[in-house]
């Protein structure tokens, strides 16, 4: 029989080495961020490869769609398009009105932010974290802290960027908190993830707060991370427990986090806000100039 471990070092030595290295990695996690980034960029082909079977199925399903199904889908889309264009007309009118009103008030105008559609290529395979990996990275200008939304509402923010892919932390992750306000009365609260994909917790809500089941929560724009006005969640349960200091409020995210596929990356334009600030200053100057006259 072949002598086992004839060469090399003993198992115990190998174990000690592995354990020491692992512990070093555990402690140096923060400092190793650049190493990890380059390694992740290097390994991104593996991520693309892992999604290949799913994409093959999708491709097959798309190519094998029947004529009647396509017709039905087409009809449905046409109907939707008609409804959307009607809404868009009204929206355009409202936008103009809003801009006029804002101009009257002398407050900064809302600029259209740059957007980009991204596709989810991997979903959290780790029960302790809730994130998705998308198919755009620093090559496309994605940056850490970038807000990500889908058709229904806010999905999360970018926490890790590689050359070709990036990782989005979902709003349902326990580490994620997002400043929101209630659309009905502008009360500000913070929505925290609690690890369940279909739930957010609103913490530290005073018992006297005017909050009702069904209230829509939108981003408040505070914290300078998420731009203002995107829908986040709807309140589904309020628990008034006399033994607790605060209300226990649960909300359901607007975005269907368990079935996200296409996402929108948003660039809340720095330049736009700077421009707005300049115009604001300009109006202030105008006011000052006007003041002596009047």
């Amino acid at each position: 029989m072949q002598p086992i471990f004839a060469r090399g070092v003993s198992v115990q030595f190998r174990l000690t080495l592995a354990v020491l290295l692992s512990v070093a990695l555990l402690f140096a996690n923060k400092k190793l961020e650049p190493v990890r980034e380059s390694l992740a960029s290097l390994l991104s082909p593996v991520q693309y490869l892992a999604t290949a079977p799913g994409e093959l199925f999708d491709w097959g399903a798309e190519n094998l769609a029947s004529l009647s199904m396509l017709k039905k889908q087409n009809q449905e889309l046409l109907r939707q398009q008609l409804m959307m264009s009607e809404r868009l007309q009204r929206f355009e009118h409202l936008r103009q009105e809003n801009e006029r009103l804002r101009a009257l008030l002398g407050s900064p105008l809302h600029m259209d932010a740059r957007k980009m559609v991204a596709e989810v290529i991997e979903v959290a395979s780790d029960p302790f974290h809730q994130y998705v990996v998308i198919n755009h990275g620093s090559n496309n200008g994605v940056f850490v802290g970038q807000p990500v939304v889908d058709a229904q509402g806010v999905v999360g923010q970018v926490v890790e960027v590689n050359a070709l892919t990036s990782r989005v932390l979902l709003i349902s992750d326990p580490k994620q908190g997002i400043p929101v306000r209630i659309t009905r009365n502008d009360v500000r609260v913070i929505a925290n993830g609690n690890g369940e994909l279909d739930q957010l917790d609103l913490r530290y809500v005073a018992k006297s707060t005017d909050i009702k089941v069904g209230d829509l929560l939108v981003t408040s724009g505070l914290g300078n991370r998420f731009p203002e006005g995107y829908p986040v969640a709807r309140v589904i349960n309020i628990n008034r427990d006399d033994g607790q200091n605060y209300l226990k409020v649960t909300a359901q995210p607007m975005a269907a986090l368990d079935r996200i596929r296409y996402l929108l990356l948003i660039w809340p334009e720095q330049q736009a806000s700077e421009k707005a600030a300049v115009t604001e200053d300009a109006t202030k100057v105008n006011d000052k100039q006007e003041e002596p006259k009047s």
Binding site: I4, F5, V11, R14, V19, Y131
Partner: protein, 162 residues
Amino acid sequence: MTMDHAHGRLIVWFSLLVGLLFELMPVPDIVLPFRPDWLLLILIYWSMALPHRYNILTAFVMGTLLDVLLGAHLGIRSLAYSLAIYLIVLNFQRLRTYSFLQQTVLVGIVLCIYHLIVFWLQFLLEHATFSAELLWPTVSSMILWRWVFWVLRRIRRRYKVR
């Protein structure tokens, strides 16, 4: 000596890559909690069949790669994999002579230990809550072990991996 030359190294690494892909492959939400530990099963097989070539340090490398790909805290799976494979390497002779049922039970225990180490480290580093769901992959992996073993043994004999 011809015995000393590794043979079919590429095949082993290829099988480990396939395991890594299976770990990352998107699956429907219903199946997700049951995702077997493909990579660990494949590592267990190779460290049982060829413990002098593929052992703790191989496990360490694969664990680190998985940590990077999963975006987890670095070092969690490298440590858990190393310890799990250490248990296998210590008992590889026993494992080889065991019946399939005994082998499956022992592999199951090692997998359980692996999951508990991962949970324990997550708990220490970031807050994690324990739920029985964490151990479901152990069950699916135990069911798959026999099949993984069979496939890898055929590959090893066919390509004379040493």
